[in-house]
Amino acid sequence: MTALLEVKNLSRSFGGLVAVKDVNFTLEAGRITALIGPNGAGKTTCFNLVAGSLSPTSGQVFFEGRQINNTSPEIVCRMGIARTFQIVRPMRDMSVLENAMVGAFSWTKSVKEAKSKAYESLERVGLAGKANARTDQLTLPDRKMLETAKALSTRPKLLLLDEVMAGLRPTEAAGVVRVLQTLAEGGLTILLVEHVMRIVMEVASNVVVLHHGAKIAEGNPAAVVADPKVLDSYLGAGFHA
């Protein structure tokens, strides 16, 4: 297995607050990795550091062997890393299909090519039937999938998903899980930031646990949830059996 993304001694502080402290992990190609941790653990900061929305205070991020920290989000995207936002941001006045087309313009100027890529992306997330709908007619799970389709249109090698399951009912989340599994089987590497533990257990092959900005555990989901340090961080010390 080769490492697609490598995070080395990554730190970021905001004034006196250290949000991410000396974090290391690698993402292997074709696998789903989950970044978890209690509220305020630094998950989203870590995510934004990889996506280029923030610059690290120290440390490096390597993508396919090239250093990408301090690179702007649009260039990071053009290198092959696509992200979604926790708060869904569909573009108003544009249909579902048109929303999904924008990402394709990072590699083509042809409207026709963008359209066919957008259809393909929508198909992969199960939204092809709603291509001509307006975005405000979509349900929340559909909007989350539209965010994923928008990201897929950029032809990413690595997909960063920020809480795609937040606010979804279990049956809706199950649908999303199936989509993610299919994407990973197709060779896409995925990094999830996720709160819903049950889903993480189901889809992730590797889990990185952050607490107070530092990595406290890493491994396969079953091993991680049995780790006393992880239980302490979620429930407070002394609650594990």
């Binding site: 996506a51 929305s53 702007s72 989000p73 649009e74 995207c77 053009r78 696509a82 992200r83 936002f85 941001r89 573009m91 108003r92 006045d93 544009m94 048109e98 087309m101 924008v102 990402g103 313009f105 990072s106 590699w107 083509t108 100027k109 042809s110 409207v111 963008a114 307006r134 007619q137 928008k150 990201a151 249109s153 950029t154």
Partner: protein
């Protein structure tokens, strides 16, 4: 296809107006069409690109002065003046945008910067003897003969020049919004961080849309100067002109292809009508008051503009269920 057909029909009607209307209507419609084009240039920048300018008079003025100085002082064809004006205004727009966005001045602060730049230029041109300073520049009175190479002719000739410009502006906007630029610019307008995350290089696209808009405004300004026959810094580069430019698209429908035409067709004749009524009733300023009230009413009741309201009405007549059912469903929720 239906849109192109509708556009062609409007064009035919306006051609007939130009061929048969009386001189007063011709001169009024010339101004309407010129402000349709200027509004279209402004609309491209805010309605599609998401960048607000309240100093479009800067670019209009640069275009007018390029034509004026070259023609009045050196007898050089306005065609060359238009071309030069577009290059100058496009470069000034790009430089202004580059400086502003380089230092993270954006949104409403960028809009303030456009006012400052326009006022700076107005004051500079007011004191610049070479371009006529406060006394302005005067074009020689038209002989009535049409000289196409010198872009000179009577009122009817300029009506058709303005019509051609408006048609070009509408067709150009339509083509741009259907090209990849239209998609990328609208994405950038709606949410810049989200657009960047999808690989849109927003820094250069913002500069590009402002530069294109500025160059178009300069072309409109060049013709406006020729139509008016004179150029004064206070009128061609003043705040009043910047506001006149944006009235059409705001009233007609921001970001739409036909909005600026509908808006200008509504607002400018209304202003003239009220001004005439005010004169005959001896109520000076009646036009400004009515104008203001009507603008407030339009923004209040049709915040998206007149044209989208017409489109929605048309859709409702053709297929009532499609338009109204989603609304009803939303109401139920």
């Amino acid at each position: 296809m239906k849109r192109w057909l509708a556009g062609a029909m409007v064009f035919v009607v306006l051609t007939l107006v130009g061929s048969f209307a009386d001189p007063y209507l011709i001169s009024l419609m010339t101004i309407v069409l010129l402000f349709t084009f200027l509004g279209q240039s402004w609309n491209l920048m805010l309605g599609i690109g998401g960048q607000l300018s309240i100093g479009h008079a800067l670019f209009v003025g640069l275009g007018a002065y390029s034509v004026g100085v070259l023609y009045v002082k050196y007898g050089i064809s306005p065609w060359i003046g238009l071309f030069l004006g577009m290059i100058i205004a496009g470069s000034v727009g790009a430089a202004l945008a580059w400086l502003s966005f380089r230092f993270e001045v954006r949104g409403i602060y960028f809009a303030l910067l456009t006012i400052a730049a326009a006022e700076f230029a107005r004051i500079m041109f007011s004191g610049w003897e070479f371009v006529g300073a406060m006394q302005g520049l005067f074009f020689p009175a038209p002989t009535g003969e049409i000289e196409f190479l010198m872009l000179r002719g009577g009122a009817r000739f300029y009506y058709f020049v303005a019509l051609a410009l408006a048609a070009l502006g509408i067709a150009g906007t339509e083509l741009i919004s259907r090209s990849y630029l239209g998609y990328v610019w609208r994405a950038m307008r709606d949410d810049e961080p989200a657009a960047r995350a999808l690989g849109v290089r927003t820094f250069r696209h913002k500069i590009l849309v402002i530069s294109v808009s500025a160059a178009a405004a300069a072309a409109g300004g060049g013709v406006l100067g020729l139509v008016q026959g004179s150029i004064f810094p206070d009128s061609i580069m003043g705040m009043g002109l910047s506001v006149d430019v944006l009235i059409g698209p705001v009233v007609g429908g921001l970001g739409t292809t036909f909005g600026p035409l509908i808006g200008s067709l509504t607002a400018i004749p209304l202003n003239h009508l009220m001004s005439a009524i005010g004169d005959s009733l001896r109520i000076p300023g009646l036009n400004n008051i009515t104008y203001g009230i009507v603008l407030i009413l339009v923004v209040w009741f049709l915040p998206v503009g007149i044209w989208p309201a017409i489109v929605r009405l048309g859709e409702a007549i053709q297929a009532p269920s499609k338009v109204w059912l989603p609304h009803l469903r939303k109401a139920e929720e």
